[in-house]
């Protein structure tokens, strides 16, 4: 069940009424029950996986929390040195629990997502062990949202281990944090310290918040159904029929693909946040105008923010503060030129972070290449960024004006589009073909000779796409300055209703949905 199905709408309306009919103190239970039902509708077979992850992580957190509590109790009257020793001892006790739980849950995640690539060796092993059973790719269950809930659970585990958050004593409360239906399928990857606490607050009815939530849902639907799903038709056809398309069409497809992934994913996030808002729970912002970024590092601080923060906190920081990296820094600092030393120190944490991010997004060579691609750009940026800036100044470029910032934004977007070109066409071979064709066969008349309309979108459909892309751009630009929802709320009732009616009717008319059309699943659902 996805957000764009009728049955989800019915489910949401029913949950809404039951939620607000119930007394405030029981409302979190309504959310928990609704979330379990939501997940069970997606597939009963998935439920054991999330129960295993939630229960093992909760148990581990409970044990570690108790150890820390005992240690704190015991260290009240001890000297500072003794306190430190006791603290180290407690942490050592917890380390085993943390590591076992971490390995178990990462193992489940890896088995579900990557075992299909090792079916051959696994079957050979089973054969060698005398087992008559064999494994098939179809038999491997990939629970919905496993990457999201596993990462959320592990963030809790590590935060408890590092004593950043208190343990959760109630398992149902912890389960709700993981399985909470607005974010279970596509994120955002919430930290327990934030979402867990918000879910414990009194969830009271607030008319304005509910209406704002509904508006956000409608806006998400517009992005997803009118822009993303329409562009998806064109992009898929161009990349699948790449031998019939030419250079300039690949450029159009690459541009559309950037808009597509943004409209699809951020639209989905808007829906998730809007749905959560109507229940009085704020979800973390996952997109913060990424195309206004001046560098690729900034871009990834604004795009899929919660995932970036997760990798930063649980991969990048631990690796960059590891003994190995510290040793590299110590050994190269005075012997190598400054830039090279910086490169040597940064390479391992950046590469580890981005290759893992790539593999989190998907499996296969394309995602590995994607990780290497971003490692390259980020290392280039951190190592030579200052030099490039100096060069621009020496060439008397004004780096403070709007056109320079625009150049930086376009450059960042082009790098992002390059990354999409590695994964979207489906194989590196196809990517190479497309890049070569863009360089050697850029025939602009394909834009005017009708070829443009041979890939699933005719002229009116393309016009609608362009109009709504422009609308998306205007609203995004506007949102940087003020809250559009607040601005609309301040207008007269006729204008407001016209806006709301226009938005809903635009979705109903121009959206890609309904029978006969297999609405593509949200891109991030399978991760």
């Amino acid at each position: 069940m996805t957000f764009i199905e009728i049955k989800f709408l019915i489910f949401l309306i029913m949950t809404f009424f039951v939620f607000y009919i119930c007394p405030v103190k029981y409302r979190w239970i309504v959310l928990l029950c609704a979330s379990v039902v939501f997940y069970a509708i997606a597939g009963l077979k998935y439920l054991p996986f999330i129960f295993v992850t939630s229960f093992t992580v909760w148990l581990a957190g409970r044990r570690m929390g108790r150890i820390y509590e005992v240690q704190e109790e015991a260290s009240k009257e001890l000297s500072r040195k003794e306190k430190k020793a006791l603290k180290e001892e407690a942490k050592a006790k917890c380390r085993g629990t943390m590591l076992w739980t971490l390995v178990l849950n990462l193992g489940i995640l890896a088995a579900c997502k990557y075992l299909k690539f090792f079916i051959g060796p696994v079957n050979a092993l089973l054969g060698a062990a005398g087992s008559g059973r064999t494994l098939s790719a179809e038999s491997i269950i990939v629970p919905l949202g496993i990457s999201y809930y596993t990462f959320s659970a592990l963030s809790y585990l590590l935060d408890v281990y590092w004593r950043r958050v208190e343990r959760e004593k109630s398992y149902p409360r912890f389960l709700l944090y993981l399985i909470y239906f607005p974010h279970i399928l596509q994120g955002p990857i919430e930290r327990y310290g934030r979402l867990g606490e918000r879910l414990k607050q009194e969830l009271r009815f607030d008319y304005q918040r509910v209406t704002f939530g509904v508006q956000l849902i409608v806006w998400g639907f517009m992005k997803k159904l009118i822009i993303a799903d329409r562009l998806d038709i064109f992009i898929t056809k161009v990349y699948k029929g790449y031998e019939q398309a030419g250079g300039v069409l690949f450029l159009v497809a690459a541009f559309f693909d950037v808009v597509y992934i943004y409209a699809d994913f951020s639209g989905c996030m808007d829906m998730a946040r809007g749905i959560s808002q109507i229940f009085g729970v704020e979800l973390d912002l996952n997109f913060d105008h990424p195309f206004a970024s001046l560098s690729i590092a900034e871009f990834w601080r604004r795009w899929h923010i919660t995932l970036g923060e997760w990798f930063r906190d649980y991969v990048y920081y631990p690796v960059s503060t590891s003994k190995l990296v510290k040793n590299i820094g110590r050994k190269t600092r005075n012997r190598w030129p400054q830039r090279l030393s910086r490169l040597a120190v940064n390479t391992l944490p950046v590469a580890a972070t981005w290759i893992m991010t790539g593999l989190w997004h998907g499996t296969g060579k394309t995602y590995l290449a994607w990780g290497i691609y971003y490692t390259f750009w980020l290392l280039l940026s951190t190592t030579f960024g200052d030099d490039l800036h100096q060069l621009a100044l020496r060439l008397h470029f004004n780096t403070e004006n709007a056109s320079w910032r625009l150049f930086q934004m376009v450059r960042t977007t082009l790098i992002f589009a390059g990354g999409r070109l590695l994964t979207r066409p489906g194989s590196l071979r196809r990517t190479l073909y497309i890049v070569r064709d863009i360089v050697t066969n850029l025939s602009p008349w394909q834009l005017t000779d009708g070829s443009l309309f041979n890939f699933g979108l005719d002229a009116p459909a393309l016009l609608v796409s362009v109009v709504f892309i422009a609308l998306l751009g205007v609203v995004d630009w506007w949102q940087q300055k003020t809250s559009v929802r607040v601005w609309i709320a301040q207008q007269g009732i006729v204008f407001r209703w016209l806006v709301y009616l226009g938005a809903v009717l635009a979705i109903l008319v121009f959206g890609i949905y309904g029978p006969g059309y297999s609405a593509s699943s949200f891109v991030y659902m399978a991760y």
């Binding site: 199905e5 459909a461 009616l501 121009f510 309904g514 029978p515």
Partner: protein, 489 residues
Amino acid sequence: VAVFLVLLAVCVTCLSNLFINKWKRFCYESVTPKQFYELDQDSVEVLFLGSSQATLGISGMKMYEDYGISTYTLGSPRQPMLGSYGWLVESTKTQNIRTAVVDVAALYYGTLSESRYRQSLDNMKLSLNKLQLIYEHCKLNGNTNADPFFSYIFRISKYHSRWKELTEEDYTNDSVYQPVFRGNVLYSDSVTIDLAKLAYDNDEPEEGVTMNSESVQYLERMAQFCEENGIELLLIKVPRYDWSITQHEQVEAFAEEHDLTFLDLSSSDTIAKIGLDENDYMDKKHPNISGATKISAYLGAYLKENYDLTDFREVEGYDELNYQEYCDRVEDSYLQRATDVVEYLQYLKNDRYDILIQTTADITGYCTQELLDTFEALNLKANIQELNGQTYVAQVNRGLCVYEAVSAGRQVYGNYLSDGVKYTLCSTYAAASTPAITVDFESISFANKGINILVYDSDTNRIVDKSTLVCDETSGGLVLQKENEKNAM
């Protein structure tokens, strides 16, 4: 919030009606239910159900005209038996149906496309009956997902992608209007058919012919529903080429098993009794107006004889619906179907018509007395026997000559028809880039050979007939050449 939701619902309903597929070729399925719902309570006693064969082949007006039987046909193209069952149930909500007559073609349908279900059910009012039918249809087709079910209720979800193909017709709803006479659509076109092939008893028995289980199931439910509601159920088969003796025998066995009457109109004897001739069909399956009239006359007599039905001609206040329009259309069909010049000229003398005449060849030597008489009857004064190479244009409005001109060269003339529609005439013997005749700014195609005659009905805003009287060098006279397209009347 409530007011906003009501406003939203109104907008969505309006958009649904705008976007719903008008099924341009067979738009009667949207008109038929609409008119049915507008009927007076308990004003229909005989209900016909079935596919396009029932819709085109059964003339309720003819049965009313001859026997006073009040009928209505609820059919759609390849209407599934599920749809017929649904409409039977629906009809009993407002009508006191005494006899339900089902054309059994649907018993032999293969897997039907979704559009056939849509055409049958889309225009049924929302009710428990409709919800039940949609649910059963989705279940039968293995659609466990809720979205297809809701798409029948919120029709915009099915048809919204038509936004880029909307035309003026979708907004005005004018040109999609197709006259439906108690559920019957009249076609005047005809093809020459082989009556022997129309009859099933000339066929050899076939192997492997089976009834569609879904259709059987719904026909059985119809039988049960009729029994429970005191309705007589009659099975019929309107003759068609691919109806076989095996199918006839199977339906006969089914009828016997369920204690039903099966009246197969496709035997050689019955076809002879009906009086069908080789020009009575518009294709190999569908009777034209002539065929429908003959079949309905036969069927009306059968119904009158075997069922206790009211003679509504004697019922005061009974709504004849568009009976006069039906009579006009029958009259039009004579003009449209005429193949003989004399006969054609006779039917041309009708005060209902606006007539546009224009020459594209010198007809001086080919004029017949009938043509001259007709021109006189139409109050045309020019002596066309003495044109001698001159061009001629004329306009007759409802029997009165409005304009007439003879000229040595090319003539272009424009004016208005009785209903205010603009027309132009361009008369020349040389090939010209200007269209011979335009009506409402649309050019009308004609042969470039003789006298072009366009007949227009200003009451219903439509072109009734386009013919050319062509000079035939062999016979030395005029022959009739038709330019009509295959459209419903």
